[in-house]
């Protein structure tokens, strides 16, 4: 019997890889290792519908609980992989087990950043990654209580929206000039800011937290400029970092995550990576990128499984994600870090727009508000990598599909 395929990380990327191996007919052993006790689940609802109590946990599962056993997938939940040796082809587990593998997939994802801020360990200070984290926050939800959100990236913005929808007072403390300012720019960030202001969120920008204070549990946040912000509990969302501990000391290349090519392969034969942890080469953008999107975890996990089976499967999806806040559906497609020009189609003021991030004459990315169809069409423009006239891009009467056909 050949050694099994081992998948380290039982979240969306890892679980999807296991599912794909079976769906595509892989007959060998599959071991799925996850450090959480729960069967693999999807995280988007944790800041939205699950947090608001509108959806049961079962609806977030990647597959029904009995799927893994009935498809001969050996899932080892509540077990942490501590080390992967790509030469010996072994994975060591927290329970002392040592598994030999034929091929391995690293899908360890990201962990929340934790800065050494005094009081971070006080009761009532939370961050959000797992369903257990979410349940702890849910236990704090009582209408009228005051929640402080530290950081207004996508997670902070979604949690702020959900808690307002549940009737809590919400104050946000963000180090940047506005929500999502760094990623989406001032114009789009302001739209998001105004939406939250309209919904009664108090927002404090360009302030850094210097401490959480309280007797026994958090009662206030102190900022570096000396402001005291009272709260009944706090949720910290200040970014993530890739979890690469298991390859420390090995030859596997690590640079902002596990470095892989467009076939999800690391630099060491037989070891692959996918999902949030994978800094992958993207053949459309011709550069490496690491993204933390649901859609990427799903599709890259599947692509990695195919490549493990020897079916050369180039991963070149145009990255895409959504963020629901109140009645607004924000979608982003593509990849950008900087841009020369932001071309807006529609109206920022009316919150009905798609904005294009143009770099070197090419559309690198687009963000749309309540414009799912346009975002889908923009993905073709992004994929085509052809220069597009800004006037045409901004002309709302011109079907985006025509920009690609020409």
């Amino acid at each position: 019997m050949p050694n099994p395929f081992v998948i380290v990380g039982a979240s969306l990327a890892g679980a999807t890889a296991a599912v794909t191996l079976r769906e595509e007919g892989f007959g060998g052993g599959v071991i799925l290792i996850g450090d959480e006790d729960h069967p693999p689940y999807q995280r988007p609802p944790l800041s939205k519908r699950y947090l608001r109590g509108e959806q049961p946990f079962e609806d977030a599962l990647v597959k029904p609980v009995d799927f893994y056993a009935s498809n001969d997938i050996d899932s080892r939940l509540g077990t942490r992989a501590t080390h992967l040796d790509p030469i010996e082809k072994t994975v060591e587990l927290s329970n002392g087990d040592r598994i030999r593998f034929d091929k391995a997939l690293i899908a360890t994802g990201t962990r929340n950043r934790r800065f050494p801020i005094p009081g971070l360990d006080l009761d009532g200070v939370y961050d959000l990654r797992t369903v257990d984290d979410c349940d702890r926050i849910r236990d704090e939800v009582v209408p009228g209580r005051r929640a402080a959100i530290v950081g207004m990236g996508f997670i902070g913005a979604e949690v702020a929206a959900s808690l307002r929808q549940l009737g809590l007072e919400v104050v946000v403390i963000e180090g940047g000039k506005g929500p999502l300012d760094r990623v989406l720019g001032k114009e789009v960030g302001q739209v998001v800011e105004h939406i939250h202001r309209d919904h009664g969120v108090e927002m404090i920008f360009e302030e850094l937290v210097s401490g959480f204070q309280g007797t026994g549990r958090v009662e206030r946040i102190v900022t570096q400029s000396g402001r005291n912000i009272d709260c009944d509990f706090a949720v910290v969302g200040v970014g993530v970092e890739p979890v690469t501990d298991i390859v420390v000391g090995s030859d596997i290349e690590v640079d902002n995550g596990i470095v892989v090519d467009e076939y999800c392969r690391t630099n060491v034969d037989g070891v692959f990576a996918a999902g949030d942890v994978a800094n992958h080469y993207h053949p459309i953008f011709k550069q490496k990128m690491r993204v933390e999107h649901w859609h990427n975890a799903l599709n890259q996990g599947a692509a990695a499984a195919r490549n493990m089976m020897g079916t050369a499967s180039i991963y070149d999806e145009v990255h895409w994600f959504w963020s629901d806040q109140y009645d607004y559906n924000l979608q982003y497609a593509g990849f950008h870090r900087e841009w020369d020009e932001l071309v807006v189609r529609g109206s920022l003021e009316e919150r009905d727009f798609i904005a294009f991030y143009v770099k070197n004459g090419l559309v690198a990315a687009a963000v749309g508000m309540n414009r799912g169809r346009d975002v889908r069409r923009a993905m073709r423009v992004i994929k085509a990598r052809t220069a597009v006239d800004a006037k045409l891009l901004g002309n709302d009467d011109l079907d985006l599909r025509r920009l690609v056909l020409n």
């Binding site: 988007p44 895409w320 559906n329 979608q331 799912g372 169809r373 889908r376």
Partner: protein, 102 residues
């Protein structure tokens, strides 16, 4: 309640178009794929977003909210987050009139 209900003019729905209709209180989307009409529930099974406002590419419709994809010829889920298929309805064109059986 059997029988076909007229919903609109076929010539207004050209190849590649996707339009929503209200048929006796039921919201139904109709897609024209190379001249063939397909009718299905105009509500994604994930969070009930209107599929008629999504994007039609060949026989695949993509939900405008969260990107779920369905095969318009069968209603089958091609990609999540939706898990359940959408219901399909018989559709025919009589003298340029689209008729749907609900």
């Amino acid at each position: 309640m059997a029988g076909f209900t007229a919903v609109g003019s076929a010539s207004q729905l050209v190849d590649g178009d996707l339009v929503g209709f209200d048929v006796n209180g039921i919201k139904i989307a109709v897609a024209n794929v190379r001249g063939t009409m397909y009718a299905f529930d105009d509500a994604c099974t994930h969070q009930q977003c209107p599929l008629a406002k999504g994007e039609l590419e060949d026989t695949t419709v993509t939900c405008p909210c969260h990107g779920s994809q369905f095969d318009v010829t069968t209603g089958a889920v091609l990609r999540g987050p939706a898990r359940d298929p959408v219901d399909s309805y018989p559709v025919r064109v009589e003298d340029d009139t689209i008729e749907i059986e609900v």
